[in-house]
Amino acid sequence: MSLPADFLFNQANLQDYVDCPRRFQLRHLLQLAWPAVAAEPADEYEAQVQDGEAFHRLVHQHVLGIIAAETPILPEAGPLADWWRAYLASPPADLPAMLLPEVTLSAPLAGYRLIAKYDLIAIEPDRRAIIVDWKTSARRPRPGWLSERMQTRVYRYLLVRAGTDLFPGLQPAQVEMIYWFANYPDQPERLPYDATQFEADGRLLTELVVEIAGRNEPIFPLTDDVTRCRFCTYRSLCGRGITAGDLDEADDQAAVPEEAAPDWTAGFDFEQIGEIVF
């Protein structure tokens, strides 16, 4: 199956391709449902994902002024309450005042479209634009690891390419990305940007898209690093394992997906039932 003309590239599917072309093919190209457990304990993994989503929503509401710091909608204890206290006590330092939460940007790239959804973009007009990404994972990655991730490359590159609505004439050197860790609020990772890196990211992303679009083999290559397969739901299809990896064993190399699997049944579907289909 060739790449559909309306395919959208994003940091997650590009990272999948870099990690394992076969996973990209199964998950994003063939969109093959393979609902094995991603990580064990499954209920705890699900709770982590849900708490992460709830934290993102809280910060979104706070930035928009919908809730105050002393909001009654928080649970009294648990990670969400801890993260919230950490966010209030040690937010990313030195952010410009103009805060734009939940911004989506996209731009053409090698005959397709590249898209990214930002947690927060903070702008000081004519001076700088800061990308903030909230991380609620249990572990803090080792320094330097994040700079190679597709998220870092795509987010900074795309802000320069497509952020002119927000910041006319934005230059790479005016961009910085901050990963803020809810469990390690005093250890954010700050990643500045420059024209050289912008050029390199543009080349890399273009090459990746061209490479993916040009593939026509029935089975894309499997990753050589089988440790990644522990947290991949397709492990049984590829004959690379039976049980899911343990959350405690996840490391930088074999990262647990931060997002839940695509929710293919979300929302109302007109075709679902004849009687009422509101």
Partner: protein
């Protein structure tokens, strides 16, 4: 999708000042949406930030043209245009502004997050509310399937929300219009009480069904200054397409929004209103015309040939259409179909048959000829019927497959709970949870084994179930393969026996786990579960494990059958949503969610919907669909095949004893709903449907005619009579 060359009318409309509010109307197929997409791109090119643009459609399928343009590589870089339905927008706003709106909207626990109900989970709660009342004799005078009863009560709540009247007035409105036996009035009162109890339950437990989402948004969020300012401040440029298919409350909102927009384009299809049974109100949409400075009408069809347009006029006459018929003017651009002086017969192709299967053979032959001899792309052909039964879908799909024609359908042929893969998963779940007290039959176990174990045929599966499956002290058990007689082991084969043993030991391990839950894990950063709380294995996680650790492994049945993965994914999602709406268990609680779910599956309350396709569907394939579903895809084709032309299904409304789409509308002025009203409504609906189909057809309508219908009855419905009149007069 790149846009086609524009006609003169489209160019003129595009050239209007960008900040001008425009009301654009015209029949389907006159290029309104293409113009709107061009104007959207023009806004972007002029520097309007994408995030300031909102495209509203009544249904997601109607937004396809916009998403295609916005996803195209030639679209400029920038932010994201929001493409949404009002229901979707309401859901997002409730999630965002919940802390400010929960208490005024009457929710009992405003500090806790809301829980959105799907259609399935709403039906589950409605069933919980209604079931005790059924035991008391409620609804005993009507004969309708319980699930349809639940869904019609939900339907009434939804109608109240989208039309904008208090849900407490449902029964009064229905009773005022009723002219039949007095006993029906009691049924309406009972439906009212069920609706009220359901609403109270939702408010008490932070549950949001569709009706409550819509009401909370319209009555509480939209008037809330913070929310209104958020929406009005952000979305300064608005496109609302197919407003004739949207609801009066949506129109109210647009009427209040328009004065705040810097630019707007409202698009209305003439002779539309196909979603009337969902609260669509085309007449209400026209209120918005007076709020727009420009009023533009497109009249020339860019789709239909002269013969097709002539057929439209003739069919409208034959159906007694009373109003002015638009959309039959000649096109004004070279990009439009070539004109030729032809009558309506030139657009019709038909063959009369005695029996239904003969008609289906003819349809399949004709489609095969169009595809293989005339080179028509399969995607340019649709097969339409008022209702597409599973039997009809199967009969057609089989015939077309035999002629090497690719086919796609609007949905798979079976409900989720009827899928063999679902049955297999539920049977193994019962084996793994003896505490449920569910003992699968040997028949169920044999079929589960056959599906679960690769290469195990039904004969061996039955043999295995007969010998190795036991119920001891009420607990279902699988015996080890080594315990079987050697001769029997040889009959099963050792290869399959090994796979059976793998399944049996996996099941035994899960049974053991249910007796002894997994050990506690110490707390760690980000862990929600305190060390004092034991881990639980929920049913959806159980199914994920069953799939990943066993059934999808090499040697087992789901490894090579990817459809089974899709079905499992749907089942898991159904269980997960079911679990997420259930209250958290308390100490000493004997309620077992897994057992409750399986019980609800058996009652047909959950897993009754159709498997949703996650995989991409083949696009170049003949589409089999109900006629209204095709209309809501808003896509023209070259050839339409209409089946059951003599059937009453084209004319009759669905039997809905608890609700009424016309009485529960804003236009209904009160008074009785008479037979004359019903006749007029049906005739108008059929006319609109026929014109809608003809306006979405380029070349030919092929009529599948058979004297006897699918169930063997003689067919002489109004659509057939209208066709006969057209043929006589042509």
């Amino acid at each position: 999708m790149s846009l086609p060359p524009l006609t003169e009318s489209q160019k003129a409309c595009l050239a209007l000042p960008l900040d001008r509010p425009i009301f654009l109307e015209g029949p389907a197929g006159t290029g309104k949406t293409t113009l709107a997409a061009a104007r959207l791109l023009r806004w972007l090119e002029a520097g309007v930030p994408a995030r300031a643009i909102l495209v509203l459609t009544p249904q997601r399928t109607l937004a396809a043209a916009y998403t295609a343009v916005l996803r195209h590589p030639t679209a400029p870089p920038g932010g994201e245009v929001t493409v949404a339905t009002l229901g979707g927008l309401a859901q997002r706003m409730i999630e965002l502004f919940w802390p400010q709106v929960a208490e005024p909207a009457g929710f009992a626990a405003p500090t806790r997050p809301p829980i959105s109900l799907t259609l399935e989970t709403a039906q589950y709660y409605m069933a919980r509310v209604v079931r005790p009342l059924l035991e008391e004799g409620y609804f005993d005078t009507i004969r309708v399937d319980r699930n349809r009863l639940y869904s019609q009560i939900l339907d009434n709540l939804n109608k109240a929300a989208v039309i904008g009247f208090p849900y407490t007035e449902i029964a009064a409105r229905l009773k005022a219009a009723w002219v039949g036996e007095a006993a029906q009035a009691r049924v309406y009162d009972e439906a009212q009480e069920c609706a009220a109890r359901f609403r109270e339950y939702c408010l008490a437990h932070n549950l949001l069904d569709f009706s409550l989402q819509y009401e909370v948004f319209a009555r509480h969020l939209w008037p809330l200054p913070a929310c209104r300012q958020y929406l009005i401040g952000r979305y300064t440029h608005l496109i609302a397409d197919n407003i004739e298919e949207d609801t009066p409350v949506a129109h109210d909102l647009l009427a209040e929004w328009l004065p705040h927009c810097r630019a707007a384009l409202l698009i209305c299809d003439q002779n539309g209103g196909y979603r009337r049974f969902l609260g669509a109100d085309p007449e209400s949409a026209y209120r918005l015309r007076d709020l727009c400075r420009e009023h533009v009408i497109f009249t020339a069809s860019l789709i239909a040939t002269p013969a097709m347009r002539a057929l439209g006029r003739a069919m409208a006459r034959a159906l007694g259409h009373r109003g002015e018929l638009t959309g039959h003017a000649r096109p004004t651009s070279a990009a439009t179909p070539a004109d030729a002086p032809t009558g309506p017969r030139a657009a019709l192709d038909y063959r009369a048959h005695r029996f239904y299967p003969e008609m289906l053979d003819w349809v399949a032959d004709e489609i095969g000829r169009l595809v293989h001899e005339e080179g028509t792309p399969p995607a340019e052909i649709v097969v339409l019927a008022p209702y597409l039964t599973d039997a009809l879908r199967f009969a057609l799909a089989t015939r077309l497959a035999a002629r090497n024609v690719p086919v796609r359908s609007h949905r798979p042929s079976r409900a989720l709970r009827e899928e063999p893969a679902t049955q297999c998963l539920l049977t193994i779940a019962a084996l793994c949870h003896p505490a449920w007290g569910i003992q699968p039959t040997k028949y169920d176990v044999a079929h589960a084994l056959m599906l679960a174990i690769d290469d195990l045929d039904l004969v061996r599966a039955r043999l295995l179930a007969e010998i190795a499956y036991r119920v001891r002290d009420g607990r279902p058990t699988l015996l080890p393969f080594v315990d079987l007689e050697p001769a029997m082991q040889e009959r099963i084969t050792f290869l399959l026996g090994g796979r059976y043993e793998g399944l049996r030991t996996w099941v035994a391990a899960r049974v053991e786990e249910t007796r002894q839950p997994r050990p506690h894990r110490p707390d760690r950063p980000g862990s929600r579960r305190p060390a004092s709380m034991p881990p639980t294995a929920s049913l959806d996680h159980f199914f994920s494990r069953l799939f990943g650790e066993l059934l999808s492994q090499p040697g087992y049945g789901f490894h090579r059958h990817h459809d089974a993965g899709e079905i499992t994914a749907n089942l898991i999602e159904s269980v997960r949503k079911f679990r997420q709406i259930m209250p958290a268990p308390t100490a000493g609680d004997t309620f077992d969610l897994g057992r409750e779910y399986v019980q609800m599956v058996q009652d047909g309350v959950v897993a009754a919907q159709y498997v949703r396709r996650w995989q991409r569907q083949p696009q170049d394939a003949v589409l089999l669909a109900p006629a209204y579903t095709f209309l809501m895809s808003n896509r023209p084709v070259s050839h339409q095949f209409w089946l059951d032309v003599g059937g009453m299904g084209w004319w009759e409304r669905l039997y809905q004893p608890l609700t009424h789409p016309y009485v529960l509308s804003r236009r209904w002025a009160g008074g009785a709903w008479t037979d004359a009203d019903e006749y007029t409504a049906r005739q108008d609906a059929l006319t609109a449907l026929v014109l809608g189909l003809l306006r979405r057809c380029r070349t030919a309508i092929h009529l599948g005619l058979s004297e006897l219908g699918e169930s063997g009855n003689e067919q002489r419905g109004p659509l057939l009579q209208a066709v006969q009149r057209v043929l006589r007069e042509a």
